[in-house]
Subunit: 253 residues, 2 copies
Protein backbone atom coordinates (compact mmCIF):
# COMPACT_ATOMS: atom_id res chain seq x y z
CA UNK A 1 0.00 0.00 0.00
CA UNK A 2 1.27 3.46 -0.77
CA UNK A 3 1.12 6.16 1.85
CA UNK A 4 -2.18 7.38 0.37
CA UNK A 5 -3.80 3.97 0.83
CA UNK A 6 -4.22 3.49 -2.89
CA UNK A 7 -3.95 -0.20 -3.79
CA UNK A 8 -0.91 -1.04 -5.89
CA UNK A 9 -1.57 -3.15 -8.96
CA UNK A 10 0.86 -4.46 -11.51
CA UNK A 11 0.69 -6.10 -14.89
CA UNK A 12 1.53 -9.40 -13.21
CA UNK A 13 -1.00 -8.94 -10.40
CA UNK A 14 -2.45 -12.35 -9.58
CA UNK A 15 -5.75 -10.78 -8.54
CA UNK A 16 -6.30 -9.78 -12.15
CA UNK A 17 -7.38 -12.38 -14.67
CA UNK A 18 -4.82 -13.37 -17.24
CA UNK A 19 -7.10 -12.17 -20.05
CA UNK A 20 -7.47 -8.74 -18.43
CA UNK A 21 -3.69 -8.36 -18.19
CA UNK A 22 -3.21 -9.48 -21.80
CA UNK A 23 -5.75 -6.92 -23.06
CA UNK A 24 -3.98 -4.20 -21.14
CA UNK A 25 -0.62 -5.01 -22.73
CA UNK A 26 -2.12 -5.50 -26.21
CA UNK A 27 -3.63 -2.01 -26.08
CA UNK A 28 -0.32 -0.43 -25.15
CA UNK A 29 1.32 -2.27 -28.04
CA UNK A 30 -1.39 -1.35 -30.54
CA UNK A 31 -0.07 2.14 -31.18
CA UNK A 32 3.42 0.76 -31.78
CA UNK A 33 2.04 -1.18 -34.74
CA UNK A 34 0.99 2.05 -36.47
CA UNK A 35 4.65 2.86 -36.94
CA UNK A 36 5.42 -0.67 -38.10
CA UNK A 37 7.93 -1.96 -35.55
CA UNK A 38 7.72 -4.43 -32.68
CA UNK A 39 10.52 -5.56 -30.34
CA UNK A 40 11.09 -9.24 -29.47
CA UNK A 41 9.36 -11.06 -26.61
CA UNK A 42 12.21 -10.71 -24.10
CA UNK A 43 12.30 -6.93 -24.67
CA UNK A 44 8.52 -6.74 -24.26
CA UNK A 45 8.63 -8.74 -21.01
CA UNK A 46 11.24 -6.31 -19.69
CA UNK A 47 9.46 -3.19 -20.96
CA UNK A 48 6.06 -4.07 -19.54
CA UNK A 49 7.38 -5.64 -16.35
CA UNK A 50 5.09 -8.58 -16.94
CA UNK A 51 5.30 -12.32 -17.49
CA UNK A 52 6.16 -13.99 -20.75
CA UNK A 53 2.67 -15.56 -20.70
CA UNK A 54 0.98 -12.17 -20.60
CA UNK A 55 3.15 -10.88 -23.46
CA UNK A 56 2.34 -13.98 -25.51
CA UNK A 57 -1.38 -13.62 -24.79
CA UNK A 58 -1.22 -9.95 -25.80
CA UNK A 59 0.54 -10.85 -29.05
CA UNK A 60 -2.11 -13.53 -29.64
CA UNK A 61 -4.81 -10.85 -29.38
CA UNK A 62 -3.07 -8.65 -31.95
CA UNK A 63 -2.46 -11.65 -34.20
CA UNK A 64 -6.17 -12.50 -34.10
CA UNK A 65 -6.81 -8.98 -35.39
CA UNK A 66 -4.51 -9.68 -38.34
CA UNK A 67 -1.98 -7.05 -37.26
CA UNK A 68 1.04 -9.22 -36.58
CA UNK A 69 2.31 -12.65 -37.53
CA UNK A 70 4.78 -15.02 -35.95
CA UNK A 71 7.27 -16.23 -38.56
CA UNK A 72 9.35 -19.31 -37.75
CA UNK A 73 12.98 -18.34 -37.30
CA UNK A 74 12.20 -14.64 -37.63
CA UNK A 75 9.96 -13.76 -34.71
CA UNK A 76 6.96 -11.48 -34.62
CA UNK A 77 6.50 -9.14 -37.56
CA UNK A 78 3.96 -6.40 -38.20
CA UNK A 79 1.90 -7.43 -41.21
CA UNK A 80 -1.19 -5.29 -40.83
CA UNK A 81 0.14 -1.76 -40.74
CA UNK A 82 -2.73 0.66 -40.20
CA UNK A 83 -2.88 3.99 -41.98
CA UNK A 84 -4.34 7.08 -40.35
CA UNK A 85 -7.16 9.02 -41.98
CA UNK A 86 -8.15 12.44 -40.68
CA UNK A 87 -11.31 12.98 -38.66
CA UNK A 88 -10.88 16.76 -38.60
CA UNK A 89 -9.22 17.61 -41.89
CA UNK A 90 -11.33 16.69 -44.91
CA UNK A 91 -9.03 14.92 -47.36
CA UNK A 92 -9.50 12.33 -50.07
CA UNK A 93 -7.84 8.96 -49.67
CA UNK A 94 -5.13 9.58 -52.29
CA UNK A 95 -4.44 13.02 -50.78
CA UNK A 96 -4.05 11.41 -47.34
CA UNK A 97 -2.02 8.35 -48.26
CA UNK A 98 0.15 9.65 -51.12
CA UNK A 99 3.34 8.94 -49.20
CA UNK A 100 2.36 5.29 -48.59
CA UNK A 101 1.62 4.21 -52.15
CA UNK A 102 -0.70 4.73 -55.09
CA UNK A 103 -4.43 4.74 -54.48
CA UNK A 104 -6.32 3.16 -57.35
CA UNK A 105 -10.09 2.82 -57.70
CA UNK A 106 -11.88 -0.06 -59.36
CA UNK A 107 -15.21 1.26 -60.64
CA UNK A 108 -17.92 -1.27 -59.77
CA UNK A 109 -20.90 0.83 -60.90
CA UNK A 110 -21.46 4.35 -62.21
CA UNK A 111 -24.59 6.07 -63.47
CA UNK A 112 -27.73 8.05 -62.77
CA UNK A 113 -30.23 6.62 -60.32
CA UNK A 114 -33.60 7.76 -59.07
CA UNK A 115 -32.70 8.19 -55.44
CA UNK A 116 -35.03 7.27 -52.59
CA UNK A 117 -35.96 9.93 -50.00
CA UNK A 118 -33.21 8.58 -47.67
CA UNK A 119 -30.71 10.06 -50.14
CA UNK A 120 -32.51 13.08 -51.59
CA UNK A 121 -33.42 14.41 -48.13
CA UNK A 122 -29.76 14.45 -47.07
CA UNK A 123 -28.73 16.14 -50.34
CA UNK A 124 -31.64 18.63 -50.00
CA UNK A 125 -33.10 17.59 -53.37
CA UNK A 126 -36.78 17.17 -54.34
CA UNK A 127 -38.15 13.63 -54.03
CA UNK A 128 -37.40 11.50 -57.09
CA UNK A 129 -34.58 13.76 -58.32
CA UNK A 130 -31.93 11.72 -60.16
CA UNK A 131 -28.50 11.56 -58.55
CA UNK A 132 -25.18 10.21 -59.78
CA UNK A 133 -24.10 6.93 -58.18
CA UNK A 134 -20.48 5.80 -58.10
CA UNK A 135 -19.37 2.56 -56.46
CA UNK A 136 -15.64 2.00 -56.05
CA UNK A 137 -13.32 -0.56 -54.55
CA UNK A 138 -10.33 1.50 -53.44
CA UNK A 139 -6.86 0.02 -53.16
CA UNK A 140 -3.61 1.21 -51.67
CA UNK A 141 -0.56 -0.20 -53.43
CA UNK A 142 -2.81 -2.89 -54.89
CA UNK A 143 -4.48 -4.13 -51.67
CA UNK A 144 -8.17 -3.39 -50.95
CA UNK A 145 -8.65 -0.62 -48.41
CA UNK A 146 -12.28 0.44 -48.76
CA UNK A 147 -15.56 -0.03 -50.57
CA UNK A 148 -17.22 3.34 -51.27
CA UNK A 149 -20.84 3.97 -52.27
CA UNK A 150 -21.14 7.59 -53.41
CA UNK A 151 -24.24 9.68 -54.24
CA UNK A 152 -23.65 13.05 -55.90
CA UNK A 153 -26.04 15.84 -56.85
CA UNK A 154 -26.45 15.68 -60.62
CA UNK A 155 -24.77 18.96 -61.64
CA UNK A 156 -21.65 18.06 -59.68
CA UNK A 157 -21.67 14.32 -60.39
CA UNK A 158 -22.31 14.10 -64.11
CA UNK A 159 -19.12 15.91 -65.21
CA UNK A 160 -17.15 13.60 -62.88
CA UNK A 161 -18.20 10.54 -64.87
CA UNK A 162 -16.15 11.76 -67.83
CA UNK A 163 -12.99 12.05 -65.71
CA UNK A 164 -10.39 9.46 -64.72
CA UNK A 165 -12.11 8.17 -61.59
CA UNK A 166 -9.72 5.24 -61.36
CA UNK A 167 -6.81 7.49 -60.43
CA UNK A 168 -8.36 10.56 -58.80
CA UNK A 169 -10.12 11.35 -55.53
CA UNK A 170 -13.71 12.50 -55.99
CA UNK A 171 -12.93 15.49 -53.71
CA UNK A 172 -10.13 16.73 -55.96
CA UNK A 173 -12.26 16.28 -59.10
CA UNK A 174 -15.22 18.14 -57.56
CA UNK A 175 -13.04 21.12 -56.72
CA UNK A 176 -11.38 21.12 -60.14
CA UNK A 177 -14.63 20.83 -62.11
CA UNK A 178 -16.76 23.21 -60.05
CA UNK A 179 -13.97 25.71 -59.40
CA UNK A 180 -15.31 25.75 -55.84
CA UNK A 181 -13.60 24.71 -52.62
CA UNK A 182 -15.21 22.05 -50.44
CA UNK A 183 -16.39 23.21 -47.01
CA UNK A 184 -17.30 20.83 -44.21
CA UNK A 185 -18.43 17.21 -43.96
CA UNK A 186 -20.66 15.55 -41.37
CA UNK A 187 -19.22 12.18 -40.33
CA UNK A 188 -20.74 9.19 -38.59
CA UNK A 189 -18.23 6.48 -37.71
CA UNK A 190 -19.30 2.96 -36.71
CA UNK A 191 -17.76 -0.48 -36.31
CA UNK A 192 -19.61 -3.26 -38.14
CA UNK A 193 -18.91 -6.89 -38.92
CA UNK A 194 -18.40 -7.44 -42.64
CA UNK A 195 -21.22 -9.32 -44.32
CA UNK A 196 -20.06 -12.23 -46.45
CA UNK A 197 -20.16 -10.35 -49.75
CA UNK A 198 -18.45 -7.17 -48.49
CA UNK A 199 -15.72 -9.30 -46.92
CA UNK A 200 -15.17 -11.08 -50.24
CA UNK A 201 -14.97 -7.79 -52.17
CA UNK A 202 -12.52 -6.33 -49.65
CA UNK A 203 -10.52 -9.60 -49.53
CA UNK A 204 -11.01 -9.54 -45.75
CA UNK A 205 -11.68 -12.43 -43.39
CA UNK A 206 -15.36 -13.39 -43.01
CA UNK A 207 -17.06 -11.36 -40.28
CA UNK A 208 -14.05 -9.08 -39.89
CA UNK A 209 -14.53 -5.68 -38.27
CA UNK A 210 -14.98 -2.77 -40.69
CA UNK A 211 -14.79 0.93 -39.92
CA UNK A 212 -18.00 2.19 -41.51
CA UNK A 213 -18.15 5.91 -42.29
CA UNK A 214 -21.13 7.89 -43.51
CA UNK A 215 -19.93 11.23 -44.81
CA UNK A 216 -22.03 14.12 -46.15
CA UNK A 217 -19.79 16.69 -47.80
CA UNK A 218 -20.77 20.28 -48.56
CA UNK A 219 -19.30 22.87 -50.91
CA UNK A 220 -17.84 25.92 -49.20
CA UNK A 221 -21.21 27.68 -49.64
CA UNK A 222 -22.87 25.01 -47.46
CA UNK A 223 -24.71 23.07 -50.20
CA UNK A 224 -24.55 19.28 -49.59
CA UNK A 225 -23.31 17.64 -52.80
CA UNK A 226 -21.71 14.30 -51.93
CA UNK A 227 -23.09 11.55 -49.66
CA UNK A 228 -20.83 8.55 -49.12
CA UNK A 229 -21.05 5.21 -47.34
CA UNK A 230 -17.52 3.92 -46.87
CA UNK A 231 -16.43 0.54 -45.51
CA UNK A 232 -12.77 0.63 -44.49
CA UNK A 233 -10.99 -2.59 -43.62
CA UNK A 234 -10.55 -2.36 -39.86
CA UNK A 235 -7.12 -3.97 -40.01
CA UNK A 236 -5.80 -1.39 -42.47
CA UNK A 237 -7.16 1.98 -41.41
CA UNK A 238 -7.61 4.05 -38.26
CA UNK A 239 -9.06 7.55 -38.00
CA UNK A 240 -7.34 10.31 -36.04
CA UNK A 241 -8.64 13.60 -34.75
CA UNK A 242 -8.92 16.09 -31.92
CA UNK A 243 -11.89 16.74 -29.64
CA UNK A 244 -12.30 19.94 -27.65
CA UNK A 245 -13.89 20.37 -24.25
CA UNK A 246 -15.07 23.86 -25.21
CA UNK A 247 -15.77 23.84 -28.94
CA UNK A 248 -16.74 27.53 -28.92
CA UNK A 249 -13.20 28.39 -27.90
CA UNK A 250 -11.52 26.49 -30.68
CA UNK A 251 -10.67 29.73 -32.50
CA UNK A 252 -8.42 30.69 -29.64
CA UNK A 253 -6.65 27.33 -29.39
CA UNK B 1 -29.56 6.45 -71.66
CA UNK B 2 -30.05 10.06 -70.64
CA UNK B 3 -29.21 12.87 -72.99
CA UNK B 4 -25.79 13.21 -71.38
CA UNK B 5 -24.95 9.58 -72.14
CA UNK B 6 -24.69 8.73 -68.48
CA UNK B 7 -25.80 5.14 -67.90
CA UNK B 8 -28.97 4.88 -65.86
CA UNK B 9 -28.85 2.42 -62.98
CA UNK B 10 -31.55 1.51 -60.55
CA UNK B 11 -31.80 -0.40 -57.33
CA UNK B 12 -33.35 -3.29 -59.27
CA UNK B 13 -30.74 -3.19 -62.03
CA UNK B 14 -30.11 -6.76 -63.16
CA UNK B 15 -26.53 -5.89 -64.10
CA UNK B 16 -25.80 -5.35 -60.42
CA UNK B 17 -25.37 -8.35 -58.16
CA UNK B 18 -28.12 -8.96 -55.65
CA UNK B 19 -25.63 -8.58 -52.77
CA UNK B 20 -24.49 -5.20 -54.10
CA UNK B 21 -28.07 -3.93 -54.25
CA UNK B 22 -28.83 -5.21 -50.75
CA UNK B 23 -25.78 -3.44 -49.31
CA UNK B 24 -26.86 -0.21 -50.98
CA UNK B 25 -30.33 -0.37 -49.43
CA UNK B 26 -29.02 -1.48 -46.02
CA UNK B 27 -26.74 1.57 -45.86
CA UNK B 28 -29.59 3.93 -46.61
CA UNK B 29 -31.64 2.30 -43.85
CA UNK B 30 -28.81 2.33 -41.34
CA UNK B 31 -29.29 5.98 -40.38
CA UNK B 32 -33.01 5.37 -39.87
CA UNK B 33 -32.15 2.93 -37.08
CA UNK B 34 -30.40 5.67 -35.11
CA UNK B 35 -33.78 7.26 -34.56
CA UNK B 36 -35.35 3.93 -33.69
CA UNK B 37 -38.08 3.47 -36.31
CA UNK B 38 -38.42 1.29 -39.40
CA UNK B 39 -41.38 1.05 -41.79
CA UNK B 40 -42.76 -2.31 -42.97
CA UNK B 41 -41.48 -4.21 -45.99
CA UNK B 42 -44.14 -2.99 -48.45
CA UNK B 43 -43.34 0.64 -47.55
CA UNK B 44 -39.62 -0.03 -47.97
CA UNK B 45 -40.19 -1.66 -51.38
CA UNK B 46 -42.12 1.43 -52.47
CA UNK B 47 -39.69 3.91 -50.94
CA UNK B 48 -36.55 2.40 -52.46
CA UNK B 49 -38.16 1.45 -55.79
CA UNK B 50 -36.63 -1.96 -55.46
CA UNK B 51 -37.73 -5.58 -55.23
CA UNK B 52 -38.99 -7.29 -52.11
CA UNK B 53 -35.98 -9.62 -52.34
CA UNK B 54 -33.54 -6.72 -52.16
CA UNK B 55 -35.38 -5.23 -49.18
CA UNK B 56 -35.32 -8.58 -47.41
CA UNK B 57 -31.62 -9.04 -48.14
CA UNK B 58 -30.94 -5.55 -46.81
CA UNK B 59 -32.89 -6.29 -43.63
CA UNK B 60 -30.94 -9.56 -43.30
CA UNK B 61 -27.69 -7.57 -43.35
CA UNK B 62 -28.91 -5.26 -40.59
CA UNK B 63 -30.22 -8.21 -38.59
CA UNK B 64 -26.81 -9.90 -38.83
CA UNK B 65 -25.39 -6.74 -37.24
CA UNK B 66 -27.80 -7.15 -34.32
CA UNK B 67 -29.64 -3.91 -35.14
CA UNK B 68 -33.08 -5.25 -35.97
CA UNK B 69 -35.13 -8.35 -35.32
CA UNK B 70 -38.07 -9.93 -37.07
CA UNK B 71 -40.81 -10.73 -34.55
CA UNK B 72 -43.57 -13.16 -35.58
CA UNK B 73 -46.86 -11.31 -35.92
CA UNK B 74 -45.22 -7.94 -35.28
CA UNK B 75 -42.80 -7.36 -38.14
CA UNK B 76 -39.34 -5.86 -38.06
CA UNK B 77 -38.38 -3.95 -34.94
CA UNK B 78 -35.28 -1.96 -34.10
CA UNK B 79 -33.54 -3.71 -31.19
CA UNK B 80 -30.04 -2.31 -31.41
CA UNK B 81 -30.49 1.41 -31.20
CA UNK B 82 -27.15 3.15 -31.56
CA UNK B 83 -26.26 6.18 -29.52
CA UNK B 84 -24.09 8.98 -30.89
CA UNK B 85 -20.92 10.07 -29.12
CA UNK B 86 -19.16 13.27 -30.14
CA UNK B 87 -15.94 13.25 -32.11
CA UNK B 88 -15.47 17.02 -31.84
CA UNK B 89 -16.93 17.93 -28.49
CA UNK B 90 -15.13 16.28 -25.58
CA UNK B 91 -17.80 14.89 -23.25
CA UNK B 92 -17.95 12.03 -20.80
CA UNK B 93 -20.35 9.18 -21.46
CA UNK B 94 -22.86 10.18 -18.77
CA UNK B 95 -22.74 13.80 -19.97
CA UNK B 96 -23.45 12.64 -23.54
CA UNK B 97 -26.13 10.06 -22.86
CA UNK B 98 -27.96 11.56 -19.86
CA UNK B 99 -31.22 11.79 -21.82
CA UNK B 100 -31.08 8.08 -22.75
CA UNK B 101 -30.68 6.55 -19.30
CA UNK B 102 -28.34 6.27 -16.37
CA UNK B 103 -24.69 5.47 -17.00
CA UNK B 104 -23.23 3.23 -14.30
CA UNK B 105 -19.67 2.03 -14.00
CA UNK B 106 -18.60 -1.32 -12.63
CA UNK B 107 -15.07 -0.92 -11.27
CA UNK B 108 -13.01 -3.93 -12.37
CA UNK B 109 -9.65 -2.67 -11.10
CA UNK B 110 -8.28 0.50 -9.51
CA UNK B 111 -4.87 1.33 -8.13
CA UNK B 112 -1.35 2.57 -8.68
CA UNK B 113 0.77 0.83 -11.27
CA UNK B 114 4.34 1.27 -12.44
CA UNK B 115 3.60 2.19 -16.01
CA UNK B 116 5.69 1.01 -18.96
CA UNK B 117 7.23 3.58 -21.32
CA UNK B 118 4.28 3.12 -23.71
CA UNK B 119 2.15 4.93 -21.12
CA UNK B 120 4.59 7.31 -19.43
CA UNK B 121 5.82 8.66 -22.76
CA UNK B 122 2.27 9.64 -23.78
CA UNK B 123 1.63 11.25 -20.38
CA UNK B 124 5.04 13.02 -20.52
CA UNK B 125 6.19 11.38 -17.27
CA UNK B 126 9.66 10.06 -16.38
CA UNK B 127 10.20 6.33 -16.99
CA UNK B 128 8.93 4.19 -14.14
CA UNK B 129 6.70 6.92 -12.68
CA UNK B 130 3.62 5.38 -11.00
CA UNK B 131 0.26 6.17 -12.60
CA UNK B 132 -3.29 5.51 -11.46
CA UNK B 133 -5.08 2.74 -13.33
CA UNK B 134 -8.88 2.48 -13.46
CA UNK B 135 -10.69 -0.27 -15.36
CA UNK B 136 -14.45 0.09 -15.77
CA UNK B 137 -17.27 -1.72 -17.48
CA UNK B 138 -19.69 1.05 -18.38
CA UNK B 139 -23.40 0.42 -18.74
CA UNK B 140 -26.27 2.48 -20.12
CA UNK B 141 -29.58 1.67 -18.44
CA UNK B 142 -28.04 -1.60 -17.24
CA UNK B 143 -26.66 -2.88 -20.56
CA UNK B 144 -22.91 -2.97 -21.24
CA UNK B 145 -21.77 -0.18 -23.54
CA UNK B 146 -17.99 0.00 -23.14
CA UNK B 147 -14.94 -1.38 -21.41
CA UNK B 148 -12.54 1.45 -20.45
CA UNK B 149 -8.88 1.13 -19.44
CA UNK B 150 -7.76 4.47 -17.99
CA UNK B 151 -4.28 5.69 -17.02
CA UNK B 152 -4.08 8.95 -15.07
CA UNK B 153 -1.11 11.02 -13.89
CA UNK B 154 -0.81 10.45 -10.15
CA UNK B 155 -1.67 13.92 -8.84
CA UNK B 156 -4.91 13.94 -10.85
CA UNK B 157 -5.75 10.26 -10.46
CA UNK B 158 -5.22 9.58 -6.77
CA UNK B 159 -7.91 11.97 -5.49
CA UNK B 160 -10.35 10.39 -8.00
CA UNK B 161 -10.04 7.01 -6.28
CA UNK B 162 -11.77 8.40 -3.22
CA UNK B 163 -14.77 9.60 -5.28
CA UNK B 164 -17.90 7.78 -6.45
CA UNK B 165 -16.49 6.40 -9.70
CA UNK B 166 -19.50 4.12 -10.15
CA UNK B 167 -21.80 7.06 -10.86
CA UNK B 168 -19.57 9.82 -12.24
CA UNK B 169 -17.63 10.46 -15.44
CA UNK B 170 -13.87 10.71 -14.93
CA UNK B 171 -13.93 13.98 -16.92
CA UNK B 172 -16.38 15.63 -14.55
CA UNK B 173 -14.44 14.43 -11.48
CA UNK B 174 -11.12 15.69 -12.87
CA UNK B 175 -12.53 19.16 -13.43
CA UNK B 176 -14.20 19.24 -10.02
CA UNK B 177 -11.12 18.02 -8.12
CA UNK B 178 -8.47 20.02 -9.98
CA UNK B 179 -10.60 23.14 -10.39
CA UNK B 180 -9.24 23.19 -13.94
CA UNK B 181 -11.12 22.86 -17.20
CA UNK B 182 -10.16 20.09 -19.64
CA UNK B 183 -8.72 21.24 -22.96
CA UNK B 184 -8.35 18.96 -25.98
CA UNK B 185 -8.08 15.22 -26.56
CA UNK B 186 -6.28 13.33 -29.30
CA UNK B 187 -8.44 10.48 -30.61
CA UNK B 188 -7.64 7.39 -32.62
CA UNK B 189 -10.70 5.42 -33.72
CA UNK B 190 -10.47 1.85 -35.00
CA UNK B 191 -12.75 -1.09 -35.70
CA UNK B 192 -11.60 -4.37 -34.14
CA UNK B 193 -13.14 -7.80 -33.66
CA UNK B 194 -13.81 -8.53 -30.00
CA UNK B 195 -11.52 -11.14 -28.52
CA UNK B 196 -13.34 -13.88 -26.62
CA UNK B 197 -12.82 -12.37 -23.19
CA UNK B 198 -13.74 -8.78 -24.13
CA UNK B 199 -16.87 -10.09 -25.86
CA UNK B 200 -17.86 -11.96 -22.70
CA UNK B 201 -17.31 -8.91 -20.49
CA UNK B 202 -19.34 -6.70 -22.87
CA UNK B 203 -22.02 -9.41 -23.25
CA UNK B 204 -21.51 -9.12 -27.01
CA UNK B 205 -21.48 -11.87 -29.63
CA UNK B 206 -18.12 -13.62 -30.10
CA UNK B 207 -15.99 -11.82 -32.66
CA UNK B 208 -18.40 -8.87 -32.84
CA UNK B 209 -17.12 -5.54 -34.16
CA UNK B 210 -16.03 -3.04 -31.51
CA UNK B 211 -15.34 0.64 -31.93
CA UNK B 212 -11.96 1.00 -30.28
CA UNK B 213 -10.96 4.49 -29.17
CA UNK B 214 -7.61 5.60 -27.82
CA UNK B 215 -8.00 9.01 -26.23
CA UNK B 216 -5.30 11.20 -24.67
CA UNK B 217 -6.91 14.08 -22.78
CA UNK B 218 -5.15 17.27 -21.73
CA UNK B 219 -5.99 19.89 -19.16
CA UNK B 220 -6.69 23.34 -20.57
CA UNK B 221 -3.02 24.22 -20.02
CA UNK B 222 -1.99 21.45 -22.43
CA UNK B 223 -0.69 18.92 -19.90
CA UNK B 224 -1.70 15.33 -20.82
CA UNK B 225 -3.32 13.75 -17.75
CA UNK B 226 -5.64 10.96 -18.90
CA UNK B 227 -4.91 8.18 -21.41
CA UNK B 228 -7.81 5.82 -22.18
CA UNK B 229 -8.35 2.71 -24.24
CA UNK B 230 -12.07 2.31 -24.79
CA UNK B 231 -13.90 -0.60 -26.43
CA UNK B 232 -17.44 0.42 -27.39
CA UNK B 233 -19.89 -2.20 -28.51
CA UNK B 234 -20.24 -1.55 -32.25
CA UNK B 235 -23.94 -2.33 -32.21
CA UNK B 236 -24.65 0.25 -29.50
CA UNK B 237 -22.55 3.30 -30.28
CA UNK B 238 -21.60 5.48 -33.25
CA UNK B 239 -19.37 8.55 -33.22
CA UNK B 240 -20.38 11.79 -34.92
CA UNK B 241 -18.33 14.80 -35.93
CA UNK B 242 -17.47 17.40 -38.53
CA UNK B 243 -14.41 17.53 -40.78
CA UNK B 244 -13.23 20.70 -42.51
CA UNK B 245 -11.55 21.05 -45.88
CA UNK B 246 -9.60 24.08 -44.64
CA UNK B 247 -8.97 23.60 -40.92
CA UNK B 248 -7.15 26.95 -40.67
CA UNK B 249 -10.40 28.69 -41.56
CA UNK B 250 -12.52 26.97 -38.95
CA UNK B 251 -12.60 30.11 -36.83
CA UNK B 252 -14.56 31.82 -39.55
CA UNK B 253 -17.09 29.01 -40.02
Amino acid sequence: MSRTEVPVLSLTDARRRRADRARQVADMLRRRLHVGVLPGEPELVREFGTSRNTVRDALDLLRAEGLIERLPGVGTVVVGRKYAHGLDHLLGLAETLHSHGEVTNELRATGLITAPPAITARLRLPDGEPVVYIERLRRLAGSPLSLDLTYLVRDVGEPLLREDLAHNDVFVLIERLTGTRLGTADLTVEAVNADQHSAAVLEAAPNSALLMVERLTHLADGRPVDLEYIRFRGDRLAMRGTARRDPAEEAGA
